[in-house]
Every structure is written in structure tokens, then in C-alpha cells.
């Protein structure tokens, strides 16, 4: 008998009903956003007018599908581009941080560790404005005193990348450090004793061990970057990523089912990536 479980039938049924309701609550908005992507109507609302894929592939007005919508496509490319750069940077710096905090001893280590975690608890909007302000200060300074025009420090893709990088690095550092902590240092010592150089040990022993964590850190980073809104909103220029494009569309034009189609695309995309990262984690435990 499980002592933790409720013992009376009534209580157990109430509990199970609550669980069910909770999962309905979790699923409801996602289902609602998804279903109308396939409705053959120009409004994402009932009644159901039949199944269609026009909101994905349609090319004639009024049903221009997302894959034929130039602004949405451009947003998607921008998101992809930003996501790859940001997560690659965050994984590289995250790996350095993991080695720094797991392997090295230095003064003020605890204070610096807390500093590393802090970006996670600063609201995204504030990270966004603070980087905007700081970058503009530098850009203005360069303009007035050196007569230099540092266009990349004005709102745009470069600042979006910096903004997302600023908090993603904390996440990648934590993921990679957790893996590095499990590493048996005697493996490295054995390789060194056998005459391998430091660099060779890193390349053939330590990094292959870290590979699953590096991979999932990259995937998680990419997902968070792709879906980020708050920080990006403050730093965005003319080359807006997908979430911003979609938000503009929602606020200014009102919603058409093409937004549902984008939602489905995002859900399926992130679902696949999440499965990928779970699989990578599973290999990790299988060793």
C-alpha cells in the first residue's frame, strides 16, 4: 500500500479528477491555437468549415499560407540565424565557465558564482533595456568624441544576439557544469600518464564525455532563443525575428489563421527539438 496516496475512494476520485482538469487546462490553449490552423475559414474561430492546409502552403489572397508570407519567412530566417549564433556562443562560453567553476580554485569564487546565476533572475525586459542603454551610451560616445558611427550598437540583430546571449550563457553553463561534475578525473590522469598532451586529453577524453551536455545545451539554447520575446522586444531593429513579427501581426492586423499555422510550426519544431535533447540525455544515462 502506498501510504502517500489518499486512502478513501471519494478522496482518490477527487484527486484524479483534479489531475485530469489540470492537464486539460495545460492542453486547452495549445490545442485551440493548433486546431484552427487547419480550418478552412478566414477567422480562427468556430464554426469548423473543413480541413485545409492553405494556411501553411496557400498562395492566393486571402489565404496566403505562412510558407508564402514573405515577412513571416524573413522572421523565421532571422530567428534561425540568431538562434544558431546565440546558442553557439553560449555553449562556448558556457563550457569555459563550467571548467572555470568545476576545475579551478580562485579568490571570490562564491561571489563570482552568484554573479553567474544572476542573469537568470533579472527580468528579461530589464536585461533588454539595460543593454540597449549601455550600447547606445557607447555608440553616442563614439559619435560625439571620435566621430565614429557604430551602427551595430543601435537596435538590431547584433544587440538581440547580445541580449539573448547575456542570460542563455547562465543556462548553458549550469547544464555543462552539471555534466562535468560527474566526470571521473582519473580518466584524464590515466591519459596523461600514458603520455598524452593536455590538449589531446581534452580533445579525446574530456570533450567526448561532455558531448551530450554540449548538444542539449545547444538545443535548449536554440529553443529559448527562438521563443524569446521580452529581451528581444527591447533590442529589435528592422530585422525582426519570428516572435516579434507574429506579435506585430497579432496586435496590428488582428489574428488570421496564418498565426495559428505559425503556432503549429513552433509547437512541432520545439517538440522535435525537445525530443532530440531528451534522446541525447538518454544516451548519457545509457553509458
Amino acid at each position: 500500500m502506498n501510504v502517500a496516496a489518499p486512502q478513501s475512494t471519494v478522496l482518490r476520485m477527487t484527486y484524479n479528477t483534479y489531475l485530469l482538469l489540470f492537464f486539460v487546462y495545460l492542453a486547452a490553449p495549445l490545442v485551440a491555437a493548433g486546431v484552427f490552423a487547419f480550418n478552412d475559414s478566414t477567422f480562427s474561430a468556430l464554426p469548423w468549415k473543413g480541413f485545409t492546409l492553405d494556411w501553411f502552403f496557400g498562395s492566393t489572397d486571402p489565404k496566403v499560407g505562412m510558407f508564402n508570407d514573405r515577412r513571416l519567412l524573413r522572421g523565421m530566417t532571422n530567428s534561425l540565424y540568431i538562434g544558431i549564433i546565440v546558442s553557439a556562443m553560449a555553449v562556448i562560453v558556457g563550457t569555459c565557465n563550467a571548467f572555470l567553476f568545476e576545475r579551478k580554485q580562485f579568490p571570490f569564487k562564491n561571489v563570482l558564482y552568484i554573479l553567474m546565476i544572476i542573469p537568470l533572475v533579472i527580468p528579461g525586459v530589464i536585461l533588454g533595456i539595460s543593454i540597449l542603454v549601455f550600447a547606445s551610451m557607447i555608440a553616442n560616445g563614439a559619435e560625439t568624441s571620435l566621430n565614429l558611427d557604430l551602427a551595430f550598437l543601435r537596435p538590431g540583430m547584433f544587440l538581440v544576439i547580445l541580449g539573448q546571449f547575456s542570460f542563455l550563457t547562465t543556462i548553458t553553463s549550469l547544464v555543462i557544469a552539471a555534466r562535468l561534475r560527474k566526470f571521473d578525473i582519473s580518466l584524464e590522469e590515466a591519459a596523461l600518464n600514458l603520455g598524452a598532451s593536455r590538449g589531446r586529453v581534452l580533445a579525446t577524453v574530456t570533450l567526448p564525455f561532455l558531448a551530450p551536455a554540449l548538444f542539449s545545451a545547444f538545443v535548449v539554447g536554440f529553443l529559448i532563443s527562438f521563443e524569446n520575446f521580452n529581451t528581444t522586444l527591447m533590442l529589435v531593429g528592422s530585422d525582426a525575428p519570428l516572435t516579434i513579427t507574429m506579435y506585430d501581426r497579432m496586435v496590428k492586423v488582428g489574428s488570421t489563421p496564418v498565426l495559428n499555422a505559425v503556432s503549429v510550426f513552433l509547437m512541432v519544431g520545439s517538440g522535435l527539438l525537445a525530443v532530440l535533447s531528451v534522446l541525447a540525455q538518454r544516451n548519457r544515462t545509457g553509458e
Binding site: 493548433g34 484552427f36 527580468p123 525586459v125 552539471a178 521580452n230 517538440g271 525537445a274
Partner: protein
């Protein structure tokens, strides 16, 4: 000697990206908005330093009312998330069998992988005047005409709980998971009622998870932007919206920075207070992956 130099060199090499990241992207920008918030604009390129922006904030009731409203709604959402999430976490950690446990946990995480924007959009599709729920209620005959379920505080709270409850469940599951059932048995054997056992054994045991969950939930709620704006509409009065408004719409960066500093100070204060009252620390609660 050579070995020592190599160690030092590798420390410097590893330290450099960390320092660049923290100093250039976190510390200096935060100091930057602090600096800007202390600068009062008198005219083009004419500034005076002082607390004028903060005085403005205090003298304009709509500003501090918005901050207070954001604060108390965030606290409300945090508490409600705890009540909504606790039974779920308890079920996953203590009641579900091994196999269904992993599945339930994954189910809980699904919304986490979906953008905030998509979730809010889903709520809009469900709740607006022409939405599914309004339509369903009409066809059942419970209501006469279409009903607008968006743009009120209840909807905002429901939407916010939806976005943050997972961050409550995850730390709760990981703490409750470590609780040995024999603790409960001992409690019952000593004559404790279900309620007593829950209050005296389960809750104290889960405390680190509760604190971690509450902190993350609170920070996320207070800093959220999309859900209150999209579900609350024009009158949502959310503080992050004020910040956006000052920065982007009115181009008053001094006031925007002031608001940013206030939000940061305020949320940090609440988190600090929470940690202080429960005797936890930041590194162990947030970074416990």
C-alpha cells in the same frame, strides 16, 4: 614552476570570457540604467543629476499604482500557483507509479517548450468574444449572446498561472521525490491525522522546493510582458508595459530606466525577503537544475 605558470595561464584564459560576459553584458548595463535614472533632462543635451525621476514616479499615482498592482498580482499568482501546482507535484513524486511518473512529468513540461506568445494566442482564441468558450456556452444555451472573457483580471491571473506553474512544479517534484514514505508512516503510527502529517511532515520537508518555486514564479510573473498585455488588453496596467512605453513609445529613456531600476530593486527585495525568512540562499535554490 612551468606547471604553475600553465595553471595560471589556463585560469586566465577561462576567466576572460566569464569576466567579459558578466562585466560587459550584466554589470555595466545595470549601472548604465542606474546612471540614466539619476539624470534629469532639462532640454536637448542639458542634464542635471538628482533624484528628480524618482520624485516624478512618486508624484504620479498611476506609476506607483501600476507597480503596486503588478506586485500584488504577482504575489497572488505565486500563491495560487503553489496551491495549483502542489497536488500535481505531490502526485508525480509520491503517488504515480514509476512509468507513468516520467510521462506525467513530461506532460507537465510540454507548455514550457512552447513560446509565451503561442500560449497567450491560444488563450485569446479560446476566450475572446468570438472564441471557442463563448461559442460553446451559446450553443449549450447557457448564455444568450457572445460574451467577452478577455480583458479582465481573472483572465490575466489564469493566464499567468498557466505560464509559470511549471516552474513551481519542477522544484517541488525534485524535493518531494527525496522524501521517504517511512516518514509518513511514522507520522500516522504516532496518531497523526492526514492533515497533521501533511502540515508537520510534508510541508516542512518540501520547504526548499516551495521557496525555490515561489522565487522563480514571482520573478517570472513580475517580469512578464506578453500575458498581461495580450490577455489584459489596454487596461492591464502592468509595470513592464510602462517600461516599454517610456522607452519605445515616448522615448523617455530617463523615466524608463528609473522604472527599470525600481522593478529590479523591488523584485530583488521580495526575493531577498523570501530567502531571509526561510533561511535559504540564492545559489542553492535557483541553480539546483
Amino acid at each position: 614552476m612551468l606547471r604553475n605558470d600553465a595553471t595560471k595561464l589556463s585560469l586566465i584564459l577561462l576567466m576572460t570570457p566569464f569576466i567579459l560576459w558578466i562585466v560587459l553584458l550584466i554589470i555595466l548595463p545595470q549601472l548604465g540604467i542606474g546612471y540614466l535614472s539619476l539624470r534629469e533632462k532639462l532640454g536637448p543635451n542639458d542634464y542635471k543629476f538628482g533624484f528628480a525621476n524618482y520624485v516624478d514616479f512618486l508624484q504620479e499615482p498611476i506609476y506607483w499604482n501600476t507597480l503596486l498592482r503588478t506586485a500584488w498580482m504577482s504575489i497572488l499568482v505565486t500563491i495560487l500557483s503553489l496551491f495549483v501546482g502542489f497536488p500535481i507535484a505531490y502526485y508525480i513524486a509520491k503517488i504515480a507509479r514509476r512509468r507513468s511518473r516520467a510521462a506525467l512529468f513530461l506532460l507537465c513540461l510540454i507548455p514550457l517548450w512552447v513560446s509565451d506568445l503561442v500560449r497567450a494566442f491560444g488563450w485569446i482564441v479560446l476566450l475572446r468574444e468570438t472564441g471557442i468558450i463563448s461559442g460553446a456556452l451559446q450553443s449549450v444555451g447557457l448564455i444568450e449572446g457572445p460574451v467577452e472573457l478577455l480583458y479582465n483580471d481573472v483572465t490575466v491571473v489564469i493566464g499567468l498561472i498557466y505560464t509559470v506553474v511549471l516552474f513551481m512544479i519542477v522544484p517541488l517534484v525534485s524535493t518531494l521525490d527525496g522524501m521517504d514514505n517511512s516518514l509518513l508512516e511514522a507520522g500516522y503510527n504516532l496518531g497523526g491525522s492526514r492533515f497533521t502529517v501533511f502540515r508537520m511532515i510534508v510541508v516542512p520537508y518540501a520547504m526548499p522546493g516551495i521557496v525555490a518555486g515561489c522565487i522563480i514564479t514571482f520573478m517570472l510573473t513580475a517580469g512578464s510582458y506578453l500575458t498581461p498585455i495580450l490577455l489584459g488588453g489596454k487596461n492591464s496596467m502592468w509595470f513592464t508595459e510602462q517600461i516599454y512605453d517610456q522607452f519605445i513609445t515616448r522615448y523617455n529613456w530617463e523615466a524608463g530606466s528609473t522604472f527599470g531600476v525600481l522593478l529590479l530593486v523591488f523584485t530583488s527585495f521580495v526575493v531577498w525577503l523570501g530567502l531571509r525568512l526561510t533561511g535559504q540562499n540564492l545559489a542553492s535554490t535557483v541553480a539546483k537544475d
